[in-house]
Protein backbone atom coordinates (compact mmCIF):
# COMPACT_ATOMS: atom_id res chain seq x y z
CA UNK A 1 0.00 0.00 0.00
CA UNK A 2 2.69 2.42 1.04
CA UNK A 3 4.77 1.27 -1.90
CA UNK A 4 1.88 1.86 -4.25
CA UNK A 5 1.41 5.32 -2.81
CA UNK A 6 5.10 6.01 -3.31
CA UNK A 7 4.91 4.91 -6.93
CA UNK A 8 1.99 7.24 -7.48
CA UNK A 9 3.96 9.96 -5.71
CA UNK A 10 6.89 9.37 -8.01
CA UNK A 11 4.69 9.65 -11.08
CA UNK A 12 3.27 12.90 -9.75
CA UNK A 13 6.72 14.29 -9.02
CA UNK A 14 8.02 13.02 -12.33
CA UNK A 15 5.25 14.85 -14.13
CA UNK A 16 6.70 18.16 -12.97
CA UNK A 17 10.13 17.19 -14.26
CA UNK A 18 8.69 15.90 -17.50
CA UNK A 19 7.17 19.18 -18.60
CA UNK A 20 10.39 21.07 -17.99
CA UNK A 21 12.47 18.27 -19.50
CA UNK A 22 10.39 18.45 -22.66
CA UNK A 23 11.07 22.17 -22.83
CA UNK A 24 14.78 21.48 -22.50
CA UNK A 25 14.85 18.75 -25.07
CA UNK A 26 12.94 20.92 -27.49
CA UNK A 27 15.66 23.53 -27.71
CA UNK A 28 18.44 20.97 -27.54
CA UNK A 29 16.88 18.69 -30.09
CA UNK A 30 15.86 21.39 -32.50
CA UNK A 31 18.41 24.09 -32.00
CA UNK A 32 21.26 22.20 -30.34
CA UNK A 33 21.05 24.73 -27.54
CA UNK A 34 21.09 23.92 -23.83
CA UNK A 35 18.86 26.74 -22.66
CA UNK A 36 19.52 27.48 -19.02
CA UNK A 37 16.78 30.09 -18.87
CA UNK A 38 14.17 27.35 -18.88
CA UNK A 39 14.04 26.90 -15.08
CA UNK A 40 13.90 30.67 -14.74
CA UNK A 41 10.97 30.94 -17.11
CA UNK A 42 9.20 28.33 -15.05
CA UNK A 43 9.84 30.39 -11.92
CA UNK A 44 9.02 33.64 -13.65
CA UNK A 45 5.53 32.61 -14.72
CA UNK A 46 4.68 31.47 -11.21
CA UNK A 47 6.16 34.53 -9.51
CA UNK A 48 4.40 36.94 -11.84
CA UNK A 49 1.21 35.01 -11.27
CA UNK A 50 1.69 35.27 -7.52
CA UNK A 51 2.58 38.95 -7.62
CA UNK A 52 -0.50 39.80 -9.64
CA UNK A 53 -2.76 37.72 -7.45
CA UNK A 54 -1.23 39.24 -4.33
CA UNK A 55 -0.80 42.86 -5.33
CA UNK A 56 -3.70 43.02 -7.71
CA UNK A 57 -4.18 43.01 -11.42
CA UNK A 58 -4.56 46.14 -13.44
CA UNK A 59 -8.13 47.18 -14.13
CA UNK A 60 -9.31 46.69 -10.60
CA UNK A 61 -9.18 42.92 -10.64
CA UNK A 62 -7.73 42.82 -7.18
CA UNK A 63 -8.00 40.00 -4.77
CA UNK A 64 -6.68 36.49 -4.58
CA UNK A 65 -9.69 35.01 -6.33
CA UNK A 66 -8.39 36.33 -9.61
CA UNK A 67 -5.51 33.90 -9.50
CA UNK A 68 -6.40 32.12 -12.75
CA UNK A 69 -6.20 35.40 -14.64
CA UNK A 70 -2.98 36.22 -12.82
CA UNK A 71 -1.43 32.92 -13.80
CA UNK A 72 -2.52 33.35 -17.40
CA UNK A 73 -0.73 36.69 -17.44
CA UNK A 74 2.26 34.98 -15.87
CA UNK A 75 2.38 32.42 -18.67
CA UNK A 76 2.20 35.13 -21.30
CA UNK A 77 4.94 37.02 -19.50
CA UNK A 78 7.16 33.97 -19.56
CA UNK A 79 6.59 33.59 -23.30
CA UNK A 80 7.55 37.20 -23.81
CA UNK A 81 10.70 36.83 -21.76
CA UNK A 82 11.54 33.72 -23.73
CA UNK A 83 11.33 35.79 -26.90
CA UNK A 84 13.64 38.38 -25.40
CA UNK A 85 16.08 35.62 -24.60
CA UNK A 86 15.91 34.42 -28.19
CA UNK A 87 16.67 37.91 -29.38
CA UNK A 88 19.93 38.02 -27.43
CA UNK A 89 21.09 34.43 -27.54
CA UNK A 90 20.28 32.41 -30.56
CA UNK A 91 19.67 35.22 -32.96
CA UNK A 92 23.05 36.80 -32.56
CA UNK A 93 25.17 33.77 -31.83
CA UNK A 94 24.21 31.50 -34.63
CA UNK A 95 24.63 34.11 -37.29
CA UNK A 96 28.13 34.98 -36.15
CA UNK A 97 31.16 32.85 -36.48
CA UNK A 98 32.13 31.87 -33.00
CA UNK A 99 34.42 29.45 -31.32
CA UNK A 100 34.02 25.78 -32.09
CA UNK A 101 32.89 25.16 -28.57
CA UNK A 102 30.07 26.86 -30.43
CA UNK A 103 27.25 25.29 -28.54
CA UNK A 104 28.78 27.02 -25.53
CA UNK A 105 27.98 30.48 -26.77
CA UNK A 106 24.20 30.54 -26.46
CA UNK A 107 24.58 28.28 -23.46
CA UNK A 108 26.73 30.84 -21.69
CA UNK A 109 24.51 33.74 -22.51
CA UNK A 110 21.53 31.77 -21.29
CA UNK A 111 23.42 31.45 -18.01
CA UNK A 112 23.71 35.21 -18.09
CA UNK A 113 19.96 35.48 -18.50
CA UNK A 114 19.47 33.09 -15.64
CA UNK A 115 21.37 35.50 -13.41
CA UNK A 116 19.49 38.51 -14.73
CA UNK A 117 15.97 37.19 -14.48
CA UNK A 118 16.35 35.43 -11.18
CA UNK A 119 17.96 38.39 -9.49
CA UNK A 120 15.54 40.90 -10.94
CA UNK A 121 12.73 38.84 -9.47
CA UNK A 122 14.57 38.82 -6.15
CA UNK A 123 14.98 42.56 -6.26
CA UNK A 124 11.36 42.98 -7.13
CA UNK A 125 9.75 40.50 -4.77
CA UNK A 126 12.39 39.47 -2.27
CA UNK A 127 13.85 36.02 -1.83
CA UNK A 128 11.17 34.63 0.45
CA UNK A 129 8.93 31.80 -0.51
CA UNK A 130 5.39 33.06 -0.96
CA UNK A 131 2.10 31.40 -0.43
CA UNK A 132 0.14 31.16 -3.63
CA UNK A 133 -3.55 31.87 -3.12
CA UNK A 134 -4.72 29.03 -5.30
CA UNK A 135 -8.11 27.40 -5.56
CA UNK A 136 -9.78 26.88 -2.23
CA UNK A 137 -11.08 23.46 -3.21
CA UNK A 138 -9.04 20.47 -2.15
CA UNK A 139 -7.13 19.26 -5.17
CA UNK A 140 -6.22 15.91 -3.78
CA UNK A 141 -8.24 12.90 -4.77
CA UNK A 142 -8.14 9.74 -2.80
CA UNK A 143 -8.62 6.65 -4.90
CA UNK A 144 -8.88 3.63 -2.67
CA UNK A 145 -6.71 5.26 -0.04
CA UNK A 146 -4.09 6.39 -2.57
CA UNK A 147 -3.67 10.14 -2.82
CA UNK A 148 -3.54 11.59 -6.29
CA UNK A 149 -3.04 15.25 -7.01
CA UNK A 150 -5.36 16.53 -9.69
CA UNK A 151 -3.10 19.28 -11.07
CA UNK A 152 -0.20 16.91 -11.53
CA UNK A 153 -2.46 14.39 -13.13
CA UNK A 154 -3.68 17.09 -15.46
CA UNK A 155 -0.17 18.17 -16.30
CA UNK A 156 0.86 14.63 -17.09
CA UNK A 157 -2.03 14.23 -19.51
CA UNK A 158 -1.30 17.60 -20.90
CA UNK A 159 2.34 16.77 -21.56
CA UNK A 160 1.36 13.69 -23.48
CA UNK A 161 -0.92 15.75 -25.69
CA UNK A 162 1.78 18.35 -26.25
CA UNK A 163 4.38 15.72 -27.01
CA UNK A 164 2.22 14.09 -29.63
CA UNK A 165 1.56 17.49 -31.16
CA UNK A 166 5.21 18.44 -31.15
CA UNK A 167 6.29 15.20 -32.70
CA UNK A 168 3.86 15.70 -35.49
CA UNK A 169 4.96 19.29 -35.99
CA UNK A 170 8.64 18.50 -36.12
CA UNK A 171 8.48 15.35 -38.19
CA UNK A 172 6.17 16.41 -40.92
CA UNK A 173 5.86 20.16 -41.17
CA UNK A 174 7.91 22.59 -43.18
CA UNK A 175 8.57 24.43 -39.93
CA UNK A 176 10.15 21.32 -38.47
CA UNK A 177 12.38 20.85 -41.48
CA UNK A 178 13.46 24.48 -41.40
CA UNK A 179 14.31 24.24 -37.72
CA UNK A 180 16.36 21.12 -38.18
CA UNK A 181 18.25 22.76 -41.00
CA UNK A 182 19.03 25.78 -38.85
CA UNK A 183 20.24 23.60 -36.03
CA UNK A 184 22.63 21.72 -38.21
CA UNK A 185 23.96 24.33 -40.55
CA UNK A 186 22.56 27.82 -40.09
CA UNK A 187 24.58 29.15 -42.97
CA UNK A 188 23.23 26.70 -45.50
CA UNK A 189 19.69 27.04 -44.15
CA UNK A 190 19.95 30.78 -44.53
CA UNK A 191 21.04 30.50 -48.14
CA UNK A 192 18.05 28.32 -48.92
CA UNK A 193 15.70 30.94 -47.57
CA UNK A 194 15.01 29.54 -44.13
CA UNK A 195 14.41 32.70 -42.17
CA UNK A 196 15.60 31.88 -38.71
CA UNK A 197 14.43 35.20 -37.38
CA UNK A 198 10.95 34.10 -38.15
CA UNK A 199 10.84 30.46 -37.15
CA UNK A 200 13.24 30.20 -34.25
CA UNK A 201 11.07 32.45 -32.10
CA UNK A 202 8.32 29.88 -32.49
CA UNK A 203 10.43 27.39 -30.58
CA UNK A 204 11.12 29.93 -27.89
CA UNK A 205 7.43 30.74 -27.61
CA UNK A 206 6.71 27.06 -27.22
CA UNK A 207 9.42 26.84 -24.57
CA UNK A 208 7.96 29.80 -22.74
CA UNK A 209 4.52 28.29 -22.97
CA UNK A 210 5.62 24.92 -21.65
CA UNK A 211 7.60 26.44 -18.80
CA UNK A 212 4.82 28.88 -18.01
CA UNK A 213 2.23 26.16 -17.85
CA UNK A 214 4.48 24.01 -15.72
CA UNK A 215 5.09 26.93 -13.38
CA UNK A 216 1.39 27.71 -13.12
CA UNK A 217 0.47 24.12 -12.39
CA UNK A 218 3.25 24.00 -9.83
CA UNK A 219 1.87 27.08 -8.06
CA UNK A 220 -1.62 25.62 -7.92
CA UNK A 221 -0.34 22.27 -6.84
CA UNK A 222 2.16 23.14 -4.15
CA UNK A 223 0.59 26.41 -3.09
CA UNK A 224 3.96 28.03 -2.76
CA UNK A 225 6.27 29.93 -5.08
CA UNK A 226 9.73 31.42 -4.69
CA UNK A 227 12.50 32.87 -6.81
CA UNK A 228 14.49 29.70 -6.17
CA UNK A 229 11.81 27.27 -7.25
CA UNK A 230 13.33 26.63 -10.67
CA UNK A 231 16.76 25.50 -9.54
CA UNK A 232 16.09 21.99 -8.35
CA UNK A 233 13.50 21.32 -11.01
CA UNK A 234 15.84 22.63 -13.64
CA UNK A 235 18.71 20.35 -12.78
CA UNK A 236 16.51 17.30 -12.26
CA UNK A 237 14.73 17.95 -15.55
CA UNK A 238 18.10 18.13 -17.26
CA UNK A 239 19.01 14.83 -15.66
CA UNK A 240 15.76 13.37 -16.94
CA UNK A 241 16.34 14.66 -20.41
CA UNK A 242 19.85 13.23 -20.53
CA UNK A 243 18.76 9.84 -19.25
CA UNK A 244 16.12 9.84 -21.97
CA UNK A 245 18.53 11.05 -24.62
CA UNK A 246 18.95 14.60 -25.86
CA UNK A 247 16.49 15.73 -28.45
CA UNK A 248 14.16 12.79 -28.05
CA UNK A 249 10.84 14.10 -26.85
CA UNK A 250 9.52 10.76 -25.68
CA UNK A 251 12.90 10.22 -24.12
CA UNK A 252 12.41 13.34 -22.04
CA UNK A 253 9.02 12.08 -20.89
CA UNK A 254 10.41 8.73 -19.87
CA UNK A 255 13.57 10.25 -18.40
CA UNK A 256 11.60 12.71 -16.29
CA UNK A 257 9.52 9.89 -14.90
CA UNK A 258 12.60 7.77 -14.22
CA UNK A 259 14.19 10.62 -12.28
CA UNK A 260 10.98 11.08 -10.28
CA UNK A 261 10.90 7.37 -9.54
CA UNK A 262 14.56 7.28 -8.56
CA UNK A 263 14.09 10.23 -6.25
CA UNK A 264 11.00 8.94 -4.48
CA UNK A 265 12.32 5.41 -4.17
CA UNK A 266 15.63 6.67 -2.80
CA UNK A 267 13.79 8.73 -0.22
CA UNK A 268 11.60 5.79 0.59
CA UNK A 269 14.44 3.33 0.99
CA UNK A 270 17.49 5.33 2.02
CA UNK A 271 16.37 8.84 2.89
CA UNK A 272 16.55 12.16 1.09
CA UNK A 273 20.18 12.76 2.00
CA UNK A 274 21.18 10.22 -0.61
CA UNK A 275 18.97 11.57 -3.39
CA UNK A 276 21.70 13.76 -4.81
CA UNK A 277 24.08 10.84 -5.13
CA UNK A 278 21.37 8.54 -6.48
CA UNK A 279 19.97 10.82 -9.16
CA UNK A 280 23.28 12.12 -10.42
CA UNK A 281 24.92 8.77 -10.05
CA UNK A 282 22.19 7.32 -12.22
CA UNK A 283 22.86 10.00 -14.77
CA UNK A 284 26.61 9.35 -14.75
CA UNK A 285 26.09 5.64 -15.08
CA UNK A 286 23.68 6.10 -17.96
CA UNK A 287 26.24 8.23 -19.74
CA UNK A 288 29.08 5.81 -19.04
CA UNK A 289 27.14 2.89 -20.41
CA UNK A 290 25.27 4.71 -23.14
CA UNK A 291 26.97 8.03 -23.82
CA UNK A 292 24.02 9.22 -25.84
CA UNK A 293 21.20 8.46 -23.39
CA UNK A 294 18.47 5.89 -23.80
CA UNK A 295 16.85 7.25 -26.95
CA UNK A 296 19.52 9.69 -28.06
CA UNK A 297 21.28 9.55 -31.34
CA UNK A 298 24.95 10.34 -31.30
CA UNK A 299 25.86 13.97 -31.76
CA UNK A 300 25.97 15.55 -35.18
CA UNK A 301 29.37 14.74 -36.61
CA UNK A 302 31.52 16.80 -38.88
CA UNK A 303 30.73 14.55 -41.78
CA UNK A 304 32.87 12.19 -43.75
CA UNK A 305 36.53 12.67 -44.45
Amino acid sequence: MLLLQQIVNSLMLGSVYVTVAVAFTLTIGILNFLNFTIPTLFMFAAMIGWALAYWGLPGGLTGPSYWPVALAVGIIASMIVSLVVERFTFRIMKTKYGDSTEHAIPLVSSLGFLLIIENLVRIGYGTDAQRFPGPSADLTMSIGGIFVRVPQFVSLLFVVVIVIGLNWLLRTSRLGRGLRAIAENPDAANILGVDMHRIVPVVFMLTGLLCGLAGALFAINYGEVSPQMGEDIGTKAIAGMVVGGLGSIWGAVLGGLIVGLTEVMTIHLFGADTVQVAVWGLLLLTLFIRPQGLFGHSAIGKGKL
Partner: protein, 247 residues
Amino acid sequence: MLLDVSRLDVNYGRTRAVKQVSLSVREGEIVTVLGANGAGKTSLLRGLQGAVRPAGGKILFDGTDLTQAPPSARVRNGMMLVPEGRQIFVSMTVHENLLMGSYMRADADVSRDMEAIYDRFPNLAERRNMKASVLSGGEQQMLAIGRALVGRPRLIMLDEPSLGLSPLFVGKLFELILELNKSGISILLVEQNTTMALEVASRGYVLELGSAVLEDDAAALSNNTALTEAYLGGGHGPAAGGTHAHA
Protein backbone atom coordinates in the same frame (compact mmCIF):
# COMPACT_ATOMS: atom_id res chain seq x y z
CA MET B 1 18.05 43.04 -66.97
CA LEU B 2 17.43 40.25 -64.50
CA LEU B 3 20.26 40.95 -62.09
CA ASP B 4 21.78 44.37 -61.92
CA VAL B 5 24.50 44.93 -59.39
CA SER B 6 26.19 48.24 -58.97
CA ARG B 7 29.23 49.13 -56.89
CA LEU B 8 28.82 46.29 -54.47
CA ASP B 9 31.01 46.12 -51.35
CA VAL B 10 31.34 43.08 -49.12
CA ASN B 11 33.38 43.29 -45.94
CA TYR B 12 34.37 40.85 -43.23
CA GLY B 13 35.17 43.08 -40.31
CA ARG B 14 38.18 45.00 -41.51
CA THR B 15 38.83 42.82 -44.53
CA ARG B 16 37.30 44.18 -47.72
CA ALA B 17 36.67 41.14 -49.86
CA VAL B 18 34.59 42.74 -52.64
CA LYS B 19 35.12 46.31 -53.71
CA GLN B 20 32.79 48.33 -55.88
CA VAL B 21 31.87 45.49 -58.17
CA SER B 22 29.25 46.19 -60.83
CA LEU B 23 27.85 43.31 -62.81
CA SER B 24 24.72 42.31 -64.62
CA VAL B 25 22.98 39.19 -65.87
CA ARG B 26 20.27 39.37 -68.49
CA GLU B 27 17.28 37.09 -68.55
CA GLY B 28 18.36 33.78 -70.07
CA GLU B 29 22.04 34.59 -70.03
CA ILE B 30 25.05 32.66 -68.74
CA VAL B 31 27.64 34.89 -67.13
CA THR B 32 30.84 33.68 -65.58
CA VAL B 33 33.02 35.25 -62.91
CA LEU B 34 36.69 34.33 -62.91
CA GLY B 35 39.58 35.12 -60.63
CA ALA B 36 42.45 33.65 -58.69
CA ASN B 37 42.18 32.16 -55.21
CA GLY B 38 41.10 34.83 -52.82
CA ALA B 39 39.97 37.19 -55.55
CA GLY B 40 36.59 37.47 -53.87
CA LYS B 41 34.38 35.32 -56.07
CA THR B 42 32.83 33.42 -53.22
CA SER B 43 32.39 36.59 -51.25
CA LEU B 44 30.65 38.20 -54.21
CA LEU B 45 28.15 35.36 -54.49
CA ARG B 46 27.56 35.32 -50.75
CA GLY B 47 26.89 39.02 -50.89
CA LEU B 48 24.45 38.55 -53.75
CA GLN B 49 22.56 35.84 -51.89
CA GLY B 50 22.58 37.84 -48.67
CA ALA B 51 24.58 35.32 -46.64
CA VAL B 52 26.67 38.36 -45.78
CA ARG B 53 24.98 41.73 -45.89
CA PRO B 54 26.63 43.95 -48.48
CA ALA B 55 28.37 46.93 -46.95
CA GLY B 56 27.51 49.15 -49.88
CA GLY B 57 26.17 49.21 -53.42
CA LYS B 58 22.92 48.08 -54.87
CA ILE B 59 21.42 44.78 -55.97
CA LEU B 60 18.43 44.95 -58.31
CA PHE B 61 16.77 41.67 -59.18
CA ASP B 62 14.12 41.91 -61.82
CA GLY B 63 13.68 45.54 -60.87
CA THR B 64 13.28 44.86 -57.14
CA ASP B 65 15.88 46.30 -54.80
CA LEU B 66 17.11 43.39 -52.70
CA THR B 67 20.31 44.95 -51.36
CA GLN B 68 19.31 44.68 -47.74
CA ALA B 69 16.68 41.98 -48.08
CA PRO B 70 17.18 38.71 -46.18
CA PRO B 71 18.14 35.61 -48.18
CA SER B 72 14.58 34.33 -47.87
CA ALA B 73 13.33 37.27 -49.91
CA ARG B 74 15.98 36.62 -52.54
CA VAL B 75 15.04 32.96 -52.74
CA ARG B 76 11.38 33.87 -53.01
CA ASN B 77 12.20 36.21 -55.88
CA GLY B 78 14.03 33.41 -57.65
CA MET B 79 17.72 33.64 -56.72
CA MET B 80 19.43 30.46 -55.61
CA LEU B 81 23.03 29.78 -54.63
CA VAL B 82 24.98 26.55 -54.82
CA PRO B 83 27.54 27.42 -52.18
CA GLU B 84 31.24 26.73 -52.07
CA GLY B 85 32.00 23.59 -50.10
CA ARG B 86 28.51 22.13 -50.74
CA GLN B 87 27.03 22.88 -47.34
CA ILE B 88 24.67 19.98 -47.37
CA PHE B 89 22.85 18.86 -44.25
CA VAL B 90 24.80 15.80 -43.22
CA SER B 91 22.34 14.62 -40.59
CA MET B 92 19.43 14.61 -43.03
CA THR B 93 18.76 12.03 -45.67
CA VAL B 94 19.45 12.74 -49.30
CA HIS B 95 15.74 13.10 -49.87
CA GLU B 96 15.30 15.56 -47.02
CA ASN B 97 18.21 17.58 -48.33
CA LEU B 98 16.49 17.91 -51.68
CA LEU B 99 13.26 18.86 -49.97
CA MET B 100 15.10 21.67 -48.22
CA GLY B 101 15.67 23.18 -51.65
CA SER B 102 11.96 23.66 -52.01
CA TYR B 103 11.65 25.38 -48.66
CA MET B 104 10.51 28.67 -50.12
CA ARG B 105 8.39 27.22 -52.88
CA ALA B 106 4.74 28.07 -52.60
CA ASP B 107 3.42 25.23 -54.77
CA ALA B 108 3.26 21.72 -53.46
CA ASP B 109 4.28 19.97 -56.64
CA VAL B 110 7.90 19.32 -55.83
CA SER B 111 7.91 15.57 -56.27
CA ARG B 112 8.15 15.78 -60.02
CA ASP B 113 11.16 18.06 -59.78
CA MET B 114 12.76 15.76 -57.28
CA GLU B 115 12.28 12.78 -59.56
CA ALA B 116 13.89 14.75 -62.35
CA ILE B 117 16.93 15.28 -60.13
CA TYR B 118 17.07 11.59 -59.30
CA ASP B 119 16.92 10.80 -63.01
CA ARG B 120 19.79 13.06 -63.70
CA PHE B 121 21.93 11.94 -60.76
CA PRO B 122 21.40 8.19 -60.37
CA ASN B 123 23.94 8.11 -57.51
CA LEU B 124 21.50 10.17 -55.49
CA ALA B 125 18.52 8.06 -56.45
CA GLU B 126 20.19 4.96 -55.08
CA ARG B 127 20.90 6.69 -51.81
CA ARG B 128 17.77 8.74 -51.33
CA ASN B 129 17.07 7.37 -47.88
CA MET B 130 20.63 7.41 -46.64
CA LYS B 131 22.14 10.08 -44.45
CA ALA B 132 23.87 12.61 -46.64
CA SER B 133 26.97 12.28 -44.49
CA VAL B 134 27.93 9.01 -46.15
CA LEU B 135 27.92 10.41 -49.67
CA SER B 136 31.19 10.66 -51.53
CA GLY B 137 32.58 14.09 -52.29
CA GLY B 138 31.21 14.17 -55.79
CA GLU B 139 27.84 12.86 -54.71
CA GLN B 140 27.61 15.65 -52.18
CA GLN B 141 28.31 18.13 -54.93
CA MET B 142 25.50 16.61 -57.01
CA LEU B 143 23.22 16.90 -54.03
CA ALA B 144 24.05 20.56 -53.54
CA ILE B 145 23.27 21.26 -57.19
CA GLY B 146 20.12 19.17 -57.12
CA ARG B 147 18.93 20.88 -53.97
CA ALA B 148 19.21 24.29 -55.60
CA LEU B 149 17.33 23.12 -58.68
CA VAL B 150 14.40 21.86 -56.65
CA GLY B 151 13.90 25.48 -55.62
CA ARG B 152 13.05 26.31 -59.27
CA PRO B 153 15.17 29.46 -59.37
CA ARG B 154 15.10 32.07 -62.14
CA LEU B 155 18.76 32.82 -61.50
CA ILE B 156 21.08 30.12 -60.27
CA MET B 157 24.47 31.06 -58.91
CA LEU B 158 27.02 28.26 -58.94
CA ASP B 159 30.22 28.47 -56.91
CA GLU B 160 32.71 26.06 -58.45
CA PRO B 161 30.11 23.40 -59.23
CA SER B 162 32.55 21.09 -61.03
CA LEU B 163 34.64 20.69 -57.89
CA GLY B 164 35.11 17.01 -57.15
CA LEU B 165 33.06 15.76 -60.10
CA SER B 166 34.42 13.09 -62.36
CA PRO B 167 35.13 14.06 -65.97
CA LEU B 168 31.99 12.31 -67.07
CA PHE B 169 29.92 14.28 -64.63
CA VAL B 170 31.68 17.53 -65.37
CA GLY B 171 30.54 16.99 -68.91
CA LYS B 172 27.04 16.26 -67.74
CA LEU B 173 27.13 19.31 -65.50
CA PHE B 174 27.91 21.62 -68.36
CA GLU B 175 25.23 19.96 -70.45
CA LEU B 176 22.88 20.57 -67.61
CA ILE B 177 23.87 24.20 -67.42
CA LEU B 178 23.15 24.70 -71.08
CA GLU B 179 19.92 22.81 -70.80
CA LEU B 180 18.75 24.86 -67.85
CA ASN B 181 19.67 27.94 -69.72
CA LYS B 182 17.57 26.87 -72.68
CA SER B 183 14.61 26.46 -70.42
CA GLY B 184 14.98 30.12 -69.49
CA ILE B 185 17.01 30.00 -66.30
CA SER B 186 19.78 32.55 -66.01
CA ILE B 187 23.13 31.46 -64.67
CA LEU B 188 25.96 33.14 -62.81
CA LEU B 189 28.90 30.77 -62.83
CA VAL B 190 32.08 30.85 -60.79
CA GLU B 191 34.62 28.32 -62.02
CA GLN B 192 38.30 27.50 -61.80
CA ASN B 193 37.77 25.48 -64.95
CA THR B 194 38.13 28.66 -66.97
CA THR B 195 38.12 27.14 -70.40
CA MET B 196 34.86 25.34 -69.96
CA ALA B 197 33.23 28.22 -68.18
CA LEU B 198 34.07 30.57 -71.01
CA GLU B 199 32.74 28.08 -73.53
CA VAL B 200 29.29 27.97 -72.09
CA ALA B 201 29.08 31.59 -71.00
CA SER B 202 28.19 34.51 -73.16
CA ARG B 203 30.01 37.06 -71.05
CA GLY B 204 32.55 37.00 -68.26
CA TYR B 205 33.99 39.14 -65.53
CA VAL B 206 37.45 38.86 -64.03
CA LEU B 207 38.00 39.74 -60.39
CA GLU B 208 41.27 40.63 -58.83
CA LEU B 209 41.74 41.53 -55.20
CA GLY B 210 38.02 42.08 -54.84
CA SER B 211 37.63 44.42 -57.79
CA ALA B 212 36.25 43.69 -61.23
CA VAL B 213 39.17 44.38 -63.54
CA LEU B 214 37.79 43.05 -66.80
CA GLU B 215 34.46 42.51 -68.46
CA ASP B 216 34.04 41.16 -71.94
CA ASP B 217 32.41 38.64 -74.25
CA ALA B 218 33.33 35.12 -73.35
CA ALA B 219 34.89 34.57 -76.74
CA ALA B 220 37.02 37.65 -76.38
CA LEU B 221 38.16 36.58 -72.94
CA SER B 222 39.05 33.11 -74.17
CA ASN B 223 41.22 34.54 -76.88
CA ASN B 224 42.82 37.11 -74.67
CA THR B 225 44.79 34.40 -72.89
CA ALA B 226 47.67 36.65 -71.94
CA LEU B 227 45.37 38.95 -70.07
CA THR B 228 43.38 36.30 -68.32
CA GLU B 229 46.53 34.40 -67.41
CA ALA B 230 47.83 37.51 -65.71
CA TYR B 231 44.71 37.88 -63.61
CA LEU B 232 44.05 34.25 -63.02
CA GLY B 233 47.20 33.64 -61.12
CA GLY B 234 49.71 33.04 -63.93
CA GLY B 235 53.26 34.28 -63.95
CA HIS B 236 53.91 34.19 -60.24
CA GLY B 237 56.44 31.44 -60.03
CA PRO B 238 55.78 28.18 -58.26
CA ALA B 239 52.27 27.69 -57.05
CA ALA B 240 51.43 31.34 -57.44
CA GLY B 241 51.24 32.31 -53.84
CA GLY B 242 47.76 33.75 -53.96
CA THR B 243 46.69 37.32 -54.05
CA HIS B 244 48.21 38.50 -50.84
CA ALA B 245 51.59 38.32 -52.46
CA HIS B 246 50.72 41.07 -54.91
CA ALA B 247 51.18 44.00 -52.61
